[in-house]
Amino acid sequence: MAPAPAPQQKVDLREPRSWRRSKNRIVTTLMVLSFVLVIIPLGFVLFTVIVKGAPVISASFLTSSIPPNVLPANIGGIGPAILGTIEITALATVLAVPLGILGAIYLNEYGGNRPVARLIGFFADVMTGVPSIVMGLFIFSIWVLHFGFSGLAGAFALGCLMLPIVIRSTDEMLKLVPNSLREGSYALGATKARVTVTVVLPAALGGIVSGALLAVARAAGETAPLLFTILTVTTANPNVFSGANTSLPSQIFVNASSPYVGAQGRGWGAALTLIVIAFILMIAARLVTARFARFAR
């Protein structure tokens, strides 16, 4: 008969009650608290906009023309502003995104450490910090004063705003492409242009597109650059290249500063519409990133 095994010594695997444990608790609590603090204003804004804007929104609200401010909120809509926002933002995207992506490709793939490349990178960073109203005033003085208010002028201003964002986000994405991929391509006898187009860009495309969409979402919500460039009128203007135009953010600004309850109500509706548009763009950015990640794992 085998001898009874000696009783095993008990080990204590619990975290010892110590200063380390307390520190862990304190810091965790602080992190949760800061998260809640951040979420509260965001939730409050969303809640208010939904409560005040949702009752106004209907199919006709989204398509009807903008009525005089004195009329109650259930009459008319913001159709021209939605049309204007789509026109102007789309044009700004067409102007700024290709330019920004090409600029970032130059900075990251071609410029290297050349002084001119570093200068451009520096100014792109500075441009990111320029207040958006300055962009509006800039376009006002070099374009609007000569050619008048137009959606095009608004698109220029929004494009100036988007450009540094697109350059920076694309640049970051290109930096993430491992150098080993570039070398692998060079080692097969590819030229620099070939390496960039067939290896670097496809590897970074998801990030580039989602960065560009975030810039679009940001521009779609900008008010200040449009105030001096499109004039914010109440009539729909399908011609983005000439004549005064309107947009959701500048319409919200005008309505919010109006004394009439009806106009303010339509302003809330417009605010909710804008948030939904931005939300859709964000989701699109996520989907695009996921779509292009197909070969990334």
């Binding site: 450490n113 491992p178 080993s180 570039r182 060079y186 080692a187 030229t191 067939t198 990334a296 794992r297």
Partner: protein, 288 residues
């Protein structure tokens, strides 16, 4: 073990310039002929005064401790160091008699003939098929049937075909380390290069995958000239015909380090009968 010789670089004993012919079978044509090659990265002199020849249809192994300049020399052979800002080469490198760093020479044209397999497998984030077809495509091959044929032949030669033939459209990144490295080899030989440079091709792989890569190298030798950098001395003895031993030389008190070629000869001679005490110390495992 003798202490590392503190002499300054210019007083180096000149290493053997060419492989000794008595060591093996008749030497093939000279593929690379390096004469007094020194390579700088900005102010750092990574390699000093390397002279050696590489012969056709042979596997030449570059061994030596970290920092001795093996990889730098390897990357000089297909002008990949051109991509590193501040890299500079002095001396002569001839490839089949042509000056590799000549004025008219296009680095792109050089790399189409001299392919490279890297230490870390680096498949492109594309399908397995597109990875292999990449090289032929940039050389202008558009014919689908021809590409299919090249892809199958290259994957077969890289001993990967049977494992991937049913999933050519899945990502090259979905492969295991050993498979990914064989994919990179297939990608390299798909352009029918003259020379394949390999930078520690098996250092990230397990022994079985390493064995597969080594079999492959022996197999490829009949068609290509291979130069391989390795940290693994058993690997050098298993696969290579000739071995070059590199060594880090520390210069005086200034703490400047540079890589030098100490000894070059048939693999058998380097491992059985090294002439330099530093080579002997290294290959017998007493150093490095």
């Amino acid at each position: 073990m003798e202490p590392p010789e503190p002499d300054i670089v210019t007083n180096l004993p000149q290493p053997e310039v060419t492989a000794r012919p008595e060591a093996g079978s008749a030497l093939g044509e000279v593929i690379f002929d390096m004469k007094n090659v020194s390579i700088w990265y900005s102010a750092f002199k990574a390699v000093t005064d390397v002279s050696m020849t590489v012969h056709e249809n042979e596997i030449t192994a570059l061994i030596g401790s970290s920092g001795s300049g093996k990889t730098t020399v390897l990357r000089a052979l297909n002008r990949l160091n051109d991509l590193v800002a501040g890299a500079r080469l002095e001396g002569e490198v001839a490839y089949r008699g042509e000056a590799l760093y000549g004025k008219e020479v296009s680095a792109t044209a050089v790399r189409r003939r001299i392919g490279m397999v890297f230490q870390k497998p680096n498949p492109f984030p594309k399908s397995i098929y597109d990875n292999v077809a990449y090289g032929p495509r940039i050389n202008g091959e558009r014919n689908k049937d021809k590409l299919d044929e090249i892809v199958e032949r290259s994957l077969r030669r890289a001993a990967l075909w049977d494992e991937v033939k049913n999933r050519l459209n899945t990502s090259g990144l979905s492969l295991s380390g050993g498979q990914a490295q064989r994919l990179c080899i297939a990608r390299t030989i798909a352009v029918e290069p003259d020379v394949v440079l390999m930078d520690e091709p098996a250092s990230a792989l397990d022994p079985i995958a390493t064995g597969a890569i080594e079999d492959l190298m022996r197999e490829l030798k009949s068609q290509y000239t291979i130069v391989v950098v390795t940290h693994n001395m058993q690997q050098a003895t298993r696969v290579s015909d000739r071995t070059a031993f590199f060594y880090v030389l520390t210069q005086g008190d200034s703490d400047t380090r540079t890589g030098v070629l100490v000894e070059y000869g048939s693999t058998e001679q380097i491992f059985q009968d090294p002439r330099d005490s530093r080579t002997r110390a290294y290959v017998t495992g007493r150093m490095g």
